[in-house]
Amino acid sequence: MSYNSDLQNNNNNLYNILNIINSLPSGEKEGQTKIAIPSLSQQIIAPDTGKHLSSVQVQPITNELLTSLDGDFIADNIADGVDLFGLVGTLAGGGAQIATGTFTLTGEESTTINYTVTHGLGVVPNFAFCVTNMNVNNKISEYGICLLAGVNNKIYSLWRGASSRWTFYGISDALTNTSPVQNARIGKATDTTIRFGNIMSNGGVSSYGYFVPGTEYYWMVGVV
């Protein structure tokens, strides 16, 4: 056989091979990749027309994704300190909610008969107290203040007088009362603040019991 004849036979063979390739089933079509994002419903990942899937990449589950899928998946709805998918919860309680703090007045205000603290509970507390060190060797500080509020939103006011004994000193109206009754050393409470103090129903100022500048007072409010 001549060289030309061999070359013609090779061309024929290549042509036959090309025909075979073109007649192969669809699974041998051009490949493609797709990305799947997890959702709340079933997804069917199918190739585009004339193509086949060579791979499907499934995105990871993150707290951002979960929040986008369900708006309730937020830190405020997860228990405080619990880490879910990288989202740390801030929801306090489930039972009692407590807030504590201290304050020390400078005496810069002309009166120190009341002071409003920010408790940040987000709800109106149903109990509270404010107390200081009763053993300060100071005439005024002997009249330490202790406020207790509790059952049925009534405020039970106790304090220690000069005779070094505790005195039950009245029951006020509800914490939300804007006009504290006489001798109940506490004032209006809101979902963010509460006023401790010494305001009396007649608007007068007691001759004792006011907050002493420079003395640290400890407070606690809560909801049970």
Binding site: F103, Y115, A162, S207
Partner: protein, 97 residues
């Protein structure tokens, strides 16, 4: 722990504390302010009680300390003129007895 300082409309420091509220400060700033507040409170008490004279007080504090003593005297004079409710008077008597 969160430390805060609270100022009035005239930017005078009226309180410091821990917890929510006020303007957040550092623990070191809190301790410095606490020391200053207690020192001033003691000076007010001493000046009020005539245990010291105004010259004993640092010059930069004299005006403030004197003003607070004057305010205290004015408040007590106002209180002295106030009528005391009956049950409070009773409690006061009980404490003395």
């Amino acid at each position: 722990m969160r430390y805060y300082a609270q100022y009035d409309e005239s930017n005078n420091l009226i309180a410091i504390g821990t917890g929510y509220g006020g303007t957040e400060i550092t623990e070191s700033e809190y301790n410095d302010l606490l020391t200053e507040i207690r020192t001033k409170a003691q000076l007010v008490e001493q000046l009020y009680s005539n245990e010291i004279t105004i010259s004993y007080i640092p010059v930069e504090w004299q005006e403030e300390i004197q003003r607070r003593v004057d305010e205290r005297i004015a408040n007590e004079e106002a209180i002295a003129e106030e009528q005391i409710p009956g049950d409070e008077l009773l409690t006061m008597i009980e404490e003395v007895l």
